[in-house]
């Protein structure tokens, strides 16, 4: 009897200690909306950073689940989240059918990463055909003559190449396979572009994080990750030869150069794919990540709060985007986007922006 009483007391105190601090008594905080979003893991680092900064500024809570682009699209279609995020843009007819508005939020680069003894970050040079052949399984060891040709100064070991790709469907995969599709006819015929594809060789890992871990784990591994993951995990990235024939490193400048030529205005739903862009400085595997919201918003206050957040990210999020090695959307583009909001987003017939 005494023991049960003690046990009940301990459990009660423990539960109270966990629950009570969470109760906020401020009326202001109780009235704050909490916006939920889900989707691509590609922009997850920057979205969570922006959400954190914005919450510190305004107290508004943001919940972003990095479940993948396909998951984001499915959830926004099912109306379980306020906005969805996808690296693979939806085409205009798909947008119309689902009643969604699509706009670009951030631009980033996908980077091939390797784990080969004796190769430092930024040393290995890869041409488009080399990259495609490696991922097609045509080149099986690192000391293959074709790789040696592109890298005459490096001493390449005889290690087997282990390709690491994504096991889950992913917008990062979409951007990467889109690039390979453009530069290799064999890839175009055999594999194609998709969030998930029939990879000819390699092992699959879950998420950008999984690919990073697996490449670091396996000697001779090569994979592709979003640039922020490559930096955070201090991985060995490679140089890629772009359309102009120059070997460029993945940096903010090269991502920006790739995005500079894009014609956002003419593309319906901002359907612009930034891979294999012309320009001496362009990084070949650049991609934009998009936000999807419903044209018809159910809750006016929530929708306005959400749009205010996106506007803040466009105007004031440039610095943190730069810190995390993403490229912010240029001003002329987000002005267009906000005009779209004004013209197309409605809640019960009322305009939501400005």
């Amino acid at each position: 009897m005494k023991r049960t009483a003690m046990l009940a007391l301990i459990i009660g105190v423990g539960v109270a200690a966990l629950v009570l601090p969470g109760q906020r008594t401020s009326a202001e905080e109780r009235s704050q909306v909490s916006i939920s979003g889900a989707g691509a893991s590609f922009p997850y680092p920057i979205y969570s950073r922006w959400a954190f900064d914005y919450q510190r500024l305004t107290g508004m809570k943001f919940n972003y689940q990095s479940i993948g682009s396909g998951g984001g699209i499915a959830q926004i279609k099912a109306k379980t989240v306020d906005f969805g995020a996808s690296d693979a843009p939806l085409k205009a007819d798909e947008l119309k059918e689902a009643g969604l508005l699509q706009f670009p939020m951030i631009i980033g680069g996908v980077v091939p990463v390797v784990n080969v003894k004796g190769i430092a970050p930024g040393q290995l040079r890869l041409t488009p055909s080399l990259l495609a052949d490696i991922f097609l399984g045509r080149i099986a060891t690192w000391d293959h003559p074709a790789i040696k040709d592109a890298n005459p100064t490096l001493s390449l070991p005889k290690t087997a190449i282990t390709v690491v790709h994504r096991a889950d469907g992913s917008g990062t995969t979409w951007i990467f396979t889109n690039y390979l599709d453009k530069v290799s006819t064999e890839w175009h015929e055999k594999v194609g572009t998709g969030k998930a594809v029939d990879w000819p060789v390699g092992i699959g890992a879950k998420g950008n994080e999984g690919v990073a871990v697996n490449v670091q784990r396996v000697n001779g591994g090569i994979g592709y990750v979003e640039y922020a993951y490559a930096l955070q995990n201090r991985m060995t990235h490679t140089l890629l030869q772009n359309r102009a024939g120059k070997f460029v490193p993945p940096t903010d400048e090269t991502f920006q150069a790739a995005a500079a030529n894009a014609d956002w205005e003419k593309a319906p739903g901002y359907y612009v794919v930034l891979t294999d862009q012309p320009g001496d400085e362009s990084w070949p595997i650049t991609g934009a990540s998009f936000i999807l919201v419903h044209l018809e918003q159910p809750d006016k206050a929530r929708a306005k709060a959400m749009l205010k957040f996106f506007d803040w990210c466009y105007r004031h999020g440039v610095k943190s985007a730069k810190e995390l090695h993403y490229v912010a959307i240029p001003e002329n583009v987000f002005t267009l986007v906000e005009k779209n909001w004004e013209q197309e987003l409605r809640a019960d017939g009322a305009a939501l922006w400005p």
């Binding site: 682009s69 469907g169 998930a196 594809v197 029939d198 871990v213 396996v218």
Partner: protein
């Protein structure tokens, strides 16, 4: 004098119907699951038919799917796990019940139950960060050089692959089976064992001919438990199996199991045919588990090892 039959008290009748109701709910749940799986996979069943089971394709771009690599991976990883775990858990259970000092038996027994309680994702993470490198650096190179003439042990030692997944699965089901086996061995009445010893049998003879035969039903049940868990295990396998939709003779090669494919790809399957193919994979796993269990029971009955055939 005519005697009236005693009417059952109301409480008994109520309890009878309540328990019958609960049992019925369970059956209804299984039936409902099966029907939902059938419905969800109707598109894929209509398009692929029987070809789905034999086709090794998995092309989300061209929407061509086949379950062969997933079924192969599930069966092989489960087989490796069972081959490793069943003998070892039997030996451990025997040790704990028959041979060890009671204190050691209690300590080790508790440790095994704690192992059984570890979430599977922890096994997966441990497998990826600790065990896979160990396999890649120490075990697989040795197997490759010594036994490399067998197609089973060819290929680059990546650490991740079918063998590692099978071993981790074995480590996961071992505590379950061991605990269940130990419990059933412990239920053998002391009087039965002592009568064997009284007749002059050695420890092994008493164990084999008396204890094991007495609780064979419990042992079989423990193996089924482990088998069911191994067939459906998801997170631990996903981390270390390599997630590649290919069939390879080598144990070093990556593969995939039905559960790992579902875990990886279901959330992103935006096309209806893709989702339908994945649900059909789930249906196949359901059917596979059912077939395994039914076949095992039929075989056991034919060999005479069921509950009815005690002693």
């Amino acid at each position: 004098m005519r005697t009236r039959p005693r009417r059952q008290p109301k409480a008994d009748t109520f309890f009878k119907y309540l328990s019958a109701g609960c049992a019925f709910v369970l059956l209804a749940l299984i039936a409902g699951l099966f029907i939902e799986l059938l419905r969800g996979s109707s598109q894929s069943l209509a398009k692929f038919g029987a070809r789905f089971i034999t086709s090794g394709a998995w092309d989300p771009v061209r929407q061509d799917f086949g379950a062969a690599s997933s079924i192969f991976g599930t069966v092989v990883s489960t087989a490796i796990a069972m081959l490793l775990a069943v003998p070892v858990s039997l030996v451990i259970a025997l040790l704990l019940v028959e041979l060890a000092h009671p204190v050691i038996s209690r300590i080790v027994g508790t440790a095994i139950e704690l192992l059984a309680a570890i979430p599977s994702i922890i096994y997966g993470m441990w497998g990826l960060f600790v065990f896979a490198p160990f396999m890649a650096d120490y075990v697989q190179p040795v197997l490759g050089t010594k036994l490399g003439f067998l197609p089973l042990f060819q290929g680059p030692p990546m650490g991740i692959g079918m063998l590692t997944a099978g071993i981790i699965l074995a480590l996961m089901v071992l505590p379950f089976m061991c605990a269940a086996m130990r419990d059933s061995l412990a239920m053998v009445p002391a009087v039965v064992k002592e009568s064997a010893y009284g007749m002059g049998s050695t420890t092994w003879e008493a164990t084999r001919r008396v204890s094991l035969r007495y609780c064979i039903a419990g042992m079989v049940g423990a193996v089924f438990l482990g088998l069911g868990r191994a067939l459906g295990e998801t997170m631990a396998v996903t981390f270390v199996i390599g997630n590649s939709h290919s069939i390879s003779a080598s144990l070093f090669a990556p593969g995939n199991s039905i559960a790992s494919t579902l875990a990886n790809e279901f959330a992103e399957a935006s096309e209806p045919m893709y989702a339908s193919a994945l649900i059909e994979l789930g249906l196949l796993l359901f059917v596979l588990t059912f077939i395994f269990q039914a076949a095992a029971r039929i075989w056991l009955r034919s060999v005479g090892l069921t509950e009815r055939a005690k002693g």
